[in-house]
Symmetry: C2
């Protein structure tokens, strides 16, 4: 497994460059690891065509190619990078297992209610039930934030030093910024800000913005 | 990291022993790996108390203890077991990375719409919008099943031999059985049946059933 790293990203991200598309998570991991990479942009149309589906059976971005290896699924790509380069997973076996625990917690415990909230807004925002239902969905997100905030307490990161777990959790939480829910927990707002302040995140953010920036008028 | 393995499970599973509680996934992995384990049952009340929250910040089951190591989050526990014992992850580095990709795909791409469907039924089944909204949520699940079925094709497992990826994906799909959606894809119904036919799954299922079986009348 060696060779030029190529990832895919939206030709035009639905968020207009807010950094919420999942290629930002992979860009961030590669920046933390100091690994150069190329980006191949794909259109919404091309994402559903056979060439892309061969790389990503669910027709999404990002994908990751490295020589003959082809991966999809952001969590797995970040883990692959973290396993091979210093700085994203602790060396100690128990600490490493706990960091992996938090990576899965980010995508399987914290992100699902956040995805549900996004669906409620984007896919069902014009439905007659939207106004009455939204507080229920927000409540499910709030439950998770409260528990996460209680765990974090006064710590800078989820478990000791910054790791791929924080990269994933901060990225998941960033999706909440526009909802205002994140700011209900100063602990979590500060945690996310610490993630965004990392030079590697800033480079990743700037690089995705350069693709998605609205043309100058 | 060595010592007796102890997992937690519901004192009384909400599904009454259908095997859908997430301890079944961990039991299955431990059975595939041939590892003995103890089970500590926890009540809904105890799950939200400090002793359990110290093990699992989100107040859920299962947890995993092994000597001084304490983990939560099913995907991470299954991965921890798979890394340490033969039979759940391929030796080849690229095949291993692809298996991990499918583990994340199970919990972050396929399971979220299934969780949303479960919420629509269990938490919102009595809401005025329930009947009109359910087909929308089912549509999101169907999209994923169609893509997954197209990927699987005539293969027995997701990528070569059975792995922790199949253990996770079959477990996620099992949650759909009562909805009837799974049976819309013969490919996926047969895939899930192959998982259930494994001796290790059968032992895991029987062991969780022994805890949850309704008392004989």
């Amino acid at each position: 497994m060696s060779g030029q790293i190529i990832i895919t990203a939206f030709e035009r991200s639905p968020d207009g460059g807010q950094g919420l598309a999942r290629d930002t998570r992979v860009r961030w991991a590669l920046e933390e690891a100091g690994q150069p990479y190329e980006v191949r942009l794909v259109s919404f149309k091309a994402m559903k065509e056979p060439a892309h589906l061969a790389l990503h059976p669910f027709g999404q971005i990002p994908t990751y190619e490295e020589g003959s290896l082809a991966l999809f699924e952001t969590g797995a790509i970040v883990f692959h990078i973290a396993e091979r380069h210093a700085g994203l997973l602790p060396d100690d076996a128990s600490a490493r297992a706990r960091a992996i625990t938090w990576m899965f917690a980010a995508v399987n415990t914290v992100e699902p209610p956040i995805l549900e909230l996004a669906n409620a807004r984007l896919l069902e925002g014009n439905k007659p039930w939207s106004k009455e239902r939204l507080p229920l969905v927000e409540g499910r997100v709030r439950d998770r934030l409260k528990q996460l905030s209680a765990h974090l307490g006064t710590a800078d990161w989820l478990d000791g030093a910054f790791s791929a777990a924080d990269l994933m959790m901060v990225s998941v939480l960033l999706r909440l910024r526009s909802s205002g829910l994140l700011d209900e927990h100063q602990t979590l707002a500060a945690y996310v800000a610490r993630g965004e302040a990392r030079p590697a995140y800033k480079r990743a953010f700037a690089d995705q913005l350069a693709v998605n920036k609205p043309p100058a008028g």
